[in-house]
């Protein structure tokens, strides 16, 4: 990879735009957090101080630095500080099970774990066997000097995010300067979006979710401000509140949010919204039609992209008054590749057939972290020598060249935008249940919300202990909402467990809630 050593040129490096904005508009608000606003000048000073702190603790280029996703200014200063050292940030949710976080720290080789308030949790993680990381308090005082990042090269790491893995162990997705540069260039240089310093962005995502990178780095690159969500519980309510009080003009959200807000559409009026963007889950045409009335002046887009291809890379501009796509199964199309990226179906023999969506281009990362087997399963090389990534998403292309999302080819589902491998849940359930058969599935509840079910083939009721066990290993959104004990799983004609029959039988037995 000869262009690994290519330096990002000034004006296109991921931090240089932020630094330029800090010089040009030091008094412009950058972040609204901790019940106050911080200016570009203040943020720059804090980042500078963070960078110095990390260097004093021996953090060098390529090192992985863990950071608790506490919602405050120091966390954001830390992210930028880490990047300016040429190091790689690894966000950790302090509420995740300890065992899971320890696994990530060990796998990523994290040397230092930054925290602001959650000192006890940081210490708990750093003294556990298998980790050699040091907790480091990140409440710094601003440096008067300007942020001065090290030379950034295309092969340098930016961040490493861990997502649900089928084997029970989270999978690390590293994103490099080259990938993130390509994304920022595409968003900011190619003229599609006119984001400017008067915009106010919503930042609704956990920092462990790469959509957060759009929500904080794009505004900081154009002199705009952003509003992070103060708490993640009842996110849909918090979002509705901030969209209005913050007069948000650019909002990237997961479709679940508008699904939760459906019954209140008549009360929501957001005239200041300029861009209402969606990503992370299937977006339903009907729900979007209702939402569109809440944002009368906004451009509405459906965006698509896995973490492995840096944030998103396909877009579809949804028009008011357009009818439901006849082939889309109620879902808004995911559209066409953005500049610099290519999308194609695996096995392109039949243009009308379904196929697995594959992506090529500078936003696609090089492979999974420390996991050559998963990498060789998902990443390949095309006939023309270009690398590509297999998304696992089933798709079709319509006559206008728009991609349509049709579902997964495996057992991965999205819960509120979070990637969940059902096999990961099954793995941990099996550990507790011994050699019993387990099946995790999703159920679509009233209102169109997905929730996870877990079936266990057992004579005894193992629910109580099992739930406690799962909570020790899986984040909240992966805990099954219902655990159902079945004495014998139905088999299909091949003698294998019939997943469909099992779920259908359960659905039939569900009590109908009186209207």
């Amino acid at each position: 990879m000869t262009d690994q050593n290519r330096t990002s040129t000034m004006g296109t490096s991921i931090l240089s735009r932020f630094i330029e904005c800090s010089t040009q508009f030091p008094d412009n608000p950058a972040i609204f957090v901790d019940d106050r606003s911080y200016t570009y000048g203040e943020l720059n000073g804090l980042c500078s101080a963070m960078c110095a702190l990390l260097k004093a603790h021996d953090i060098k280029k390529g090192d992985r630095v863990g950071i608790f996703t506490e919602n405050n200014i120091y966390t954001y200063a830390s992210l930028l500080g880490i990047l300016s050292c040429g190091a790689c940030y690894v966000p950790l949710n302090y509420d995740s099970p300890v065992e899971r976080n320890i696994g990530i720290i060990a796998d990523a080789g994290i040397k230092v774990l930054l925290y602001t308030e959650k000192e006890d949790k940081a210490r708990e993680l750093s003294v556990s066997p298998g980790t050699e990381c040091r907790p480091l308090h990140n409440r710094v005082t601003p440096n008067p000097g300007k942020l001065d990042p090290v030379d950034q090269k295309h092969g340098d790491f930016c961040y490493l995010l861990f997502t649900s893995g089928t084997t029970g162990k989270p999978k690390g997705v590293p994103i490099y300067q080259r990938n993130l540069s390509a994304f920022l260039d595409m968003m900011l240089e190619r003229g599609r979006y006119d984001f400017n310093r008067n915009d106010r962005f919503l930042q609704m995502f956990e920092l462990t979710f790469d959509l957060s990178v759009f929500s904080f780095l794009v505004p900081l690159s154009v002199g705009a401000s952003f509003y992070p969500l103060p708490q993640k519980e009842m996110a849909y309510l918090e979002v509705a509140d901030i969209l209005e009080t913050g007069e948000i003009s650019v909002a990237l959200m997961v479709p679940s949010v508008i699904n939760y807000l459906k019954s209140y559409f008549g009360e929501i009026n957001l005239p200041k919204m300029r861009y209402s963007l969606f990503c992370g889950e299937a977006l339903y045409h009907e729900t979007l039609t209702g939402w569109a009335r809440c944002v009368p002046h906004a451009k509405i887009e459906n965006l698509y992209g896995p973490t492995e291809a840096t944030i998103f890379c396909l877009r579809y501009e949804w028009q008011r008054g357009e009818s439901l796509h006849p082939q889309g199964k109620g879902i808004v199309p995911i559209g066409k590749p953005m500049e610099g990226m290519e999308a194609f179906k695996l096995h392109e023999n039949n243009l009308d057939a379904e196929g697995e969506l594959c992506l090529s281009g500078d936003q696609v990362t090089f492979g999974y972290w420390n996991n050559s087997s998963k990498t060789s399963e998902a990443f390949g090389t095309r006939e023309n020598g270009k690398k590509f990534y297999r998304t696992g998403d089933l798709c079709k292309v319509d006559k206008d060249g728009n991609f349509l999302y049709l579902g997964r080819i495996d057992n991965q589902v999205k819960i509120d935008g979070h990637r969940v491998e059902l096999e990961e849940i099954e793995f941990h359930a099996r550990v507790f249940c011994g050699d019993k058969q387990v099946i995790a599935a999703v159920n679509t509840r009233e209102g169109g919300f997905l929730s996870i079910l877990l079936f266990i083939e057992s004579e005894k009721d193992l629910k109580k202990g099992l739930e406690e066990h799962l909570k020790k290993h899986l984040p909240d959104y992966m805990i099954p909402k219902e655990i159902i004990t079945v004495s014998l799983f139905p088999l299909n004609s091949n003698g294998k467990t019939d997943r469909k029959a099992l779920i259908n039988k359960y659905l039939q037995n569900l009590q109908v809630v009186p209207q």
Partner: protein, 83 residues
Amino acid sequence: MKKEEITGKLKSVFQKVFEENDITISRETTAQDIDMWDSLRHIQLISEVERAFGIKFKLREVLRMKNVGDLIDLIDAKQGVPA
């Protein structure tokens, strides 16, 4: 309906939504205090409360609810019955 009655009826709504017979609620109870009280449960809870008491909440009202006490007061106000 008196506030005590509201609280009693509300408790059974909670028991139904959270599928927990030994759930306890007080005026100070918040989402942090009850396990697995996430957005989905919240929507289900609001829906069940509306159904059980024959009322409808506005988004503003749902946004302002910080604890179960706020919920009780709101149900009370909507019933038009003095506490």
